[in-house]
Amino acid sequence: MSKKDFIKSLKSKQTILSYAFLIIGAISIHISLKSLFSHGNSLIAFQFEKFETISLFITNYWLLFSVFTVFLVGAIFKGIVFKPSAASYMPVEIHFLKPALSFPNELFLAKLIKIAVKNLIYLLIVFLIFVNPFLDALEYTIILRAVLFTASYLLLLILMAFESLAFFIKSEVIYHYRIKNSIKLLLVTAFILVIGCTGIIAFGIPFLPTTIFINIFYVTLFGNSFLDLIIVLIFYLVAYFIVSFILLLIISHHYYLYIEDYNDLPGGSKFFPLKNKFPKIPPFLPRKFFSMFYKDIIVNLRTIYVQILILSFIVFSILYFTSSFVATLVFTASPIFNAPIELFIFTLLTFLLSPITIHSFSDDLICAWLIKTAPIDFKSVFNAKLAIYLILTLLSTAPIFILVISLAAQPILQTTLITLIIIESFLYITIGINISIVYSPDIPGKEFPFSGFVAYVVLFILVTIPLFLIFTVDFYNFKIFPIKLVASLVYASVIYSLILIISKDKFYQRVERS
């Protein structure tokens, strides 16, 4: 978000209120986590005794390794399939800014720095609110916290660089393949391979940057005893960072000088093998609703978010069904999820991991003329999106939820959890669609404003508090569960109706403005 947009957004009372709630919410979560990991619950405090935690992490090295490898592969995959946001120029930038540049890759680098600074702020917030209480419980010193933060940020930068590198290398290869310059194609490939292999062999760097990061994390668990080893590992990450950014400088310069105009591939639409797959709608089904539904399925399947989501789902499912890490987690997780408050925080946080719904209306606002003039009522459009994003969100969060439901020892806990997940996800998607209508940028390709994310989080937390209160009344009494279920369903339907009315008004307001 530019400075101008930020100042403009601050003038809105809604945004100020959202930020205020977010700060209060963040402080509350921080305090809850702190008390959870240290003094609040003696059982949990016992589970987080340092030795047991270390042994738990060591047993799950491969789980962490797999998760971080997914991040790394995901970043490269994203770069191959789509243009990174730093390399995506808006028309105004192409027509007015680009001709005025001193170096062809200047604009790209400026955008990259902007994203790097923004990511630094986000990481700092995540560290202070969510990670710090956990590190308190593990008795981390200030130096170790700084080390872990630096390593996390370096890894983030390296992933950014890898994503952009993947995009530029792919473009170079396609360019040389198209102009049938096989010698240059071979040279480019050889150059990259030689640089990569030389770096890894010469510096004795462990293979992947994610592996180095996990190693740093593991070594910090043992306190200051292995500080010299930590420094060496950090230097490996720094080396990765420097080499990848030097490569990025060279390749981006070449790309913007020779290739961009020739090889400016829009989107990644050709990646997904879904050519002309709009299915025929059987006559007994409501055609308008299913047209919208199918359109959303196709559009979503061709976005990187959903492709990565499906990939992650497959990876996590394989891990879940093939490894034995579940058994070790039962030991610590079970007491944690006996308490309703933790259950509530857990479901909230899990949903917030998958905020894809905020893009649900982005394209439809740009094509608003089509929706507005077509004989389809807004409710059908809204419900079609509700259905598709409900499926996607439940799909993306399913591995975590399945794991936790299987860990919950008592039937009441499992039943409450399943009910909460279904109703919360319904509300989460409903709110997400509304946020998408209100906050999606007017200009195609412009990134979603941060105030939209803030409003989403705040609204979701506020809306789910009554739901949580309904379920915590006499939590362990199974007899009154049907009453709670009916009450929560009534509450959810009231919220749905309200949001539907507000969304309809907002949508038509935006259509008129466009």
Partner: protein, 249 residues
């Protein structure tokens, strides 16, 4: 005469924050008319078409299409309206074929009917294999053809086309004119806005010139020319109305 009037616009006004886009505009057209809407930039052409298409509401006035008040009962008439916006934004990852199927679904066109019309307009607009490309990768002209095909596949009775010729090559313009003339012969109303004045003069049988949000003149191309004096073309008339082009040379 009254029965054949398909479009009646009465005293339409629309104001934005600092400007008046339309000021008390009244016009009418009967079935089979090809109505050309011309005027300089900011004259209110796009605003008028958007109001007729039910996208925005006027501050004052009424719009009756086929006996239905568009402002209050838009739902009753929208399936009969085919609207083409000035700036075409569509789903960039959908292919041309998928987009056409999607629109057909929204307008409840039966599958077999869609298949027949799809083949017909695929051939007429010469879309060929381009129709299987994502819309985001298409040229302006090809995108225009796909979106126009999506309108014709529905076979509406009122065509509201904002700058339909812009971006089309000469062959595309020729095809579009041919189809629209056919539709007018089938008693449809065709309303086009355009900056290409010789084309409007040759193609339309009725012209409305808008200037500063007001209707300046309405009539056949011959009437418009004769009422504005001894002008040789619509272009001369337009220049006379809208500015002092002569002063700058």
């Amino acid at each position: 005469m009254r029965t054949s009037t398909i479009l009646e616009v009465k005293n339409i006004s629309k104001r934005y924050k600092h400007t008046t886009a339309l000021n008390n505009v009244t016009l009418s057209a009967s079935a089979g008319t090809i109505l050309g809407l011309v005027g300089p930039n900011g004259a209110g052409k796009t605003t008028l078409i958007k109001i007729l298409a039910g996208i925005i509401r006027p501050d004052e006035g009424t719009v009756i299409i086929n006996g239905v008040n568009v402002i209050t009962d838009y739902g009753k008439i929208q399936h009969k309206i085919g609207y083409l916006p000035e700036k075409i934004f569509v789903y960039p990852t959908l292919t041309g074929y998928e987009f056409l199927r999607f629109v057909a679904g929204l307008y409840d066109i039966p599958e077999d009917l869609f298949d027949d019309r799809y083949e017909l307009y695929l051939d007429i607009f010469k879309m060929g294999e381009y129709v299987e490309e994502p819309l985001g990768t298409m040229s302006k002209g090809m995108l225009q053809r796909v979106v126009l095909a999506s309108i014709f596949i529905r076979e509406p009775k009122i065509y509201l086309l904002d700058e339909p010729f812009y971006g089309l090559d000469p062959e595309g313009i020729w095809i579009l004119k041919k189809i629209l003339r056919e539709k007018a012969r089938e008693k449809a109303l065709v309303l086009v806005s355009s900056h290409i004045l010789p084309l409007v003069e040759e193609f339309c049988n009725k012209i409305v010139i808008l200037h500063h949000g007001k209707k300046y003149i309405e009539g056949t191309p011959q009437e418009v020319r004769s009422r504005l004096g001894a002008m040789t073309s619509l272009e001369d008339a337009f220049i006379k109305i809208t500015g002092n082009a002569g002063d700058t040379f």
